[in-house]
């Protein structure tokens, strides 16, 4: 999206896209501001994207949130800050590299201790006039909303929703604070300090506004998830929390496990007994789960594994983002067995792919992975609908007969999966090599037959069903940009901004296994650019193994931050002649 702020001293006009950044210490109440802002703006008919970066601490430090308000759908992180609200003295130094002469800084000058020009709005004093300094966040939110010409009644309603549980008096005071802020904002707009002339679309008011965590959780539940066992770990805990919050409505078994080893072994036990289970973790927790991945492969018991990636190795950067665990997911678990790895890059894909993961796991009796990351999980965006009513829940449990054999050799490698207590047969699974009945064997002939069934035949069937990548942009491309998962939003917006007719984006949502035919799509281009939010180009290696194709250029980032649209545009300009 082009920079549309017309620089004129401190007077700015925004016509289709504006980025607001709020920054301060953890515990300063950024959350309240963001909730009030995003909800009110979206209800007013603006497209909203919100993301945040935070330090691994409960209080203090400096965090920031970026809210993009736009007249069209946006879901990517941008470097540009149009309006900055610093809540304390740490904010401006924290963001100094992103502040330019075009950045409008609004806020309490005393608190921000700014050494650069800013428009002073004494949020703290306005709040004190209303009785308490705690209202300053709502004053700040109101001020920003005033710039957009928000209807006061709508803000009142949002504040009632936000503070309703705290009693009438608190609601009343916050409404006063919101209105005082609105007046300040309107005055700034009138004075021409900032003019926002975005055109709202009333349809947006009825759209969904959710983050990757929620979209993933919804996909799990719509996919029939009725059991989750996990150990909390950032950034993947949110999925466990979301499903736990819904569990009462849907009767889902929630088990906060003592460790990740317990979690995945419980997940497998649940599937064995007929449930549809998932586990959610990050790379470090997944490291403990790998024995269970291998067990899933051996006993052909399905499991859905969500890895919310964060930078490693080891504890790494606990609250930051990276696509660094793809190789680990693909190669995890001892022995040879098939698996599927999916990676959503849009909110809707998060729901659709997580839903599908349950069907695929059940159908092929294998581990199916969903790979996301901190940026994706914590970022909110508008989305018209998830259309889950169109997604089938496919179940493959069979009623057993007296002579049931769990590992019956079949032409496609898939043995009908019975569960204990459903039919007259016995369901016997063993982590040792086993015969068709599930009993231990060391027979070479049986071993060979089982490897052929479990790996060779099933892998072929799985590959046939692989989700192909999607071509975004020009159909007549000479440059193809390859990306997967959460980089989707930044790459898509960057190539749109690039405005070239000869560039396309090949967006992968299934990252393993890949069909060799993908090579034909890539070969049409003279130039392949790989974009990955990791240090070594992990997907590039998988692509090379499957297709023999090697990227001409790699754009890699492993600083802990997501790609910005601007840096990708710049890199593309440099690499596309």
């Amino acid at each position: 999206m082009a920079q549309n702020a017309a620089g004129n001293g401190n007077k700015k006009v925004f016509t289709d896209d504006v980025s607001l950044v709020i920054s301060g210490a953890a515990g300063k109440g950024i959350l309240t501001i963001i909730n009030v802002l995003t909800k009110t703006l979206k209800q007013s008919g603006f497209h909203v994207f919100a993301t945040n970066e935070y330090m691994s601490r409960i209080r203090g430090g400096t965090n920031s949130a970026e809210i993009r308000v736009s007249s069209k759908r946006v879901s990517a992180f941008i470097n540009r800050i149009d309006i900055l609200v610093p809540l304390d003295k740490g904010a401006i130094p924290h963001l100094k590299e992103r502040i330019t002469k075009d950045t409008v800084i609004l806020g309490d000058k005393g608190q921000a201790a700014a050494d650069i020009p800013m428009t002073d709005i004494p949020f703290g004093n306005i709040a004190l006039d209303l009785g308490k300094s705690v209202f300053e966040n709502v004053v700040a939110a109101g001020t920003l909303l005033g710039l957009f010409g928000i209807k006061p009644e709508l803000l009142d309603e949002v504040l009632k929703g936000q503070f309703g549980s705290k009693g009438e008096e608190i609601v009343k005071k916050n409404i006063e604070a919101g209105r005082a802020g609105l007046e300040k904002g309107q005055a700034l707009a009138k004075a021409g300090t900032v003019r926002i002339e975005l055109i709202p679309d009333k349809n947006v008011a009825n759209e969904l506004f959710l983050n990757g965590t929620e979209a993933l959780g919804i996909g799990a539940i719509s996919g029939g998830c009725d059991f989750i066992s996990s150990y909390p770990m950032s950034p993947a805990t949110g999925v466990l929390t979301f499903i736990a919050q819904q569990s009462k409505e849907f009767d889902i078994v929630i088990d906060q496990a003592e460790d990740e080893i317990a979690a995945i072994n419980a997940g497998l036990g649940a599937w064995y007994a007929g449930a549809r289970a998932m586990v959610t973790t990050s790379g470090g927790g997944f490291a403990l789960m790998t024995e269970g991945v291998s067990l899933s492969g051996m006993i052909e018991t399905p499991i859905v594994i969500h890895i919310g990636q964060r930078p490693g190795p080891a504890t790494g950067l606990p609250t930051r983002t990276e696509q660094g665990d793809l190789s680990f997911a693909v190669y995890s678990g001892h022995g040879d067995f098939p698996r599927i790895v999916l990676a959503p890059g849009t909110i809707k894909d998060a729901t659709v792919l997580t839903h599908k993961a349950f069907n695929l796991a059940d159908r092929f009796q294998i581990p199916v992975f969903i790979l996301s990351d901190q940026f994706f999980l914590d970022s909110y965006t508008t989305c018209p609908d998830l259309e889950v009513e169109k997604l089938p829940v496919e179940r493959f449990i069979t009623k057993t007969a007296k002579d049931y054999k769990r590992y019956k050799l079949t032409s496609d490698g898939i043995s009908p999966r019975g569960i204990p207590g459903y039919g007259e047969g016995l369901v016997c699974v063993d982590s040792d090599e086993h015969d068709e009945t599930g009993h231990i064997t060391e027979s070479e002939a049986v071993r060979n037959a089982m490897m052929d069934k479990r790996l060779v035949k099933k892998a072929a069937a799985i590959l046939k069903e692989a989700i192909p990548p999607q071509i975004i942009g020009s159909k007549d491309y000479s440059t193809i940009i390859v990306g997967w998962g959460s980089t989707h939003s930044a790459i898509a917006e960057a190539i749109e901004n690039l405005g070239r007719k000869d560039v396309a984006f090949l967006y992968f949502t299934q990252v393993f296994p890949l069909q060799a035919g993908v090579a034909d799509t890539i070969k049409k281009a003279k130039n392949m650019i790989l974009v990955e939010n990791n240090a070594s180009g992990q997907f590039g290696k998988i692509l090379q193994l499957a297709t023999g194709m090697v990227p001409h250029h790699k754009i890699l980032k492993s600083s802990g931050a997501p790609f910005t649209v601007e840096e990708l545009v710049e890199d593309f300009r440099r690499l596309i002649k």
Binding site: L31, I34, N35, K39, Q43, A50, N52, A65, E157, V158, K160, G161, Q162, N206, E207, L208, F209, N211, T213, I218, I221, D226, F227, S229, S234, G238, E249, F250, I252, V253, I254, D255, E258, A262, N265, A266, G267, L268, G269, A270, Y272, A273, G274, A275, E291, G292, D385, L386, V388, I397, P420, G421, G425, L426, V429, D430, S431, D432, H439, I440
Partner: protein
């Protein structure tokens, strides 16, 4: 209806002649048979080790998983389908060593399962190293000067965690072992039975006669509901008590506490989520002004 329902007929059993596991297998089959249990409704979960092979030798559903990981799948099976009878058969290494952390937390959950630990105080399958329950001074090729670690006392740990049923048996007494297993299966809640069992190949110290000399039966006057007294019993080392050492006050099981069976007793595989409720959950994300719930934006 009886023990024969669980018999596999003439099968090859991988245990050494004279192994205590044979007695425990028999006791388990008799217990299940006498209680009128059915193989197709019984799930045996086991890990790795000789005792973990038990489910291969009787008719039942089984999940012979990974080393030390019996308790997590057992919880999950019972929570997914409470109509199944879930029994763990495994050894001291699997449960108290590799699975030690799970042991602590499984007791806290109080899933309604029966946990049978064949405790021979040695690692058999890996050929004779110390186990968590090996006595101090016990010599092995690795602990050649003798074990220097304090032995793990599963009874006192289980009582400390308020396990709902804590018992100990000696497989040398088949009748008593069977009776204790029966009570454990009938008990509602987490039932632990530590069963003394000699390893005839790798443990030349803790033999059939040794266990007989170092144990005694709790008499009928003993009250297992007295926690302090149970602790005292669990700490007796020279002669160790056999029988039900501790019974907690009746408490809810994990399956009861999770609420999933409040509205229906159907196991999970018979259910599906209501699409109308799913659509409502999604509609909540339209964030109409009056809705307060938005989740957390900042982690």
């Amino acid at each position: 209806m009886g023990k024969e329902d669980f018999d596999m007929g003439a099968i090859d059993i991988a245990w050494c002649p004279g192994c205590g596991d044979f007695a425990i297998l028999n006791a388990l089959k008799e217990a299940l048979g006498e209680l009128g249990k059915k193989p197709e409704n019984t799930v045996i979960i086991s890990g790795i080790g000789q005792a973990a092979k038990t489910p291969h030798y009787l008719k039942c559903n089984f999940f012979n998983g990974l080393h030390g990981r019996t308790l997590s799948p057992a919880m999950a099976v019972k929570a997914s389908n409470p109509e199944l009878d879930v029994v763990i058969t495994t050894g001291d290494g699997d449960m108290y060593g590799e699975g030690g952390n799970h042991f602590l937390h499984a007791i806290r959950r109080n899933t309604n399962i029966t946990v049978l630990i064949c405790n021979n105080m040695v690692y058999g399958l890996t050929k004779g190293q110390a186990s968590p329950t090996s006595e101090k001074g016990f010599k092995t090729p690795i602990q050649y000067k003798g074990v220097i670690l304090e032995p793990f006392n599963p009874m006192s740990v289980a009582i400390a965690l308020d396990a709902s049923f804590v018992a100990r048996a000696n497989c040398g007494d088949l009748q008593q072992t069977k009776e204790i297993i029966k009570k454990a299966i009938q008990h509602k809640g987490f039932a632990l039975v530590d069963i003394f069992q000699p390893c005839v190949v790798y443990n030349k110290v803790n033999t059939y006669p040794w266990f007989k000399q170092h144990t005694y039966n709790l008499d009928e006057r003993y009250d297992p509901s007295d926690k302090k007294e149970a602790f005292m019993k669990a700490l007796e080392m020279d002669k160790m008590p056999l029988g039900i050492i501790y019974l907690s006050r009746e408490k809810k099981t994990f399956e009861e506490n999770i609420g999933v069976y409040d509205r229906s007793n159907d196991p999970l595989f018979k259910r599906k989520h209501d699409i109308k409720k799913i659509m409502k959950m999604i509609d909540n994300k339209r964030l109409h002004a009056a809705q307060s719930e938005m989740g957390s934006l900042i982690g």
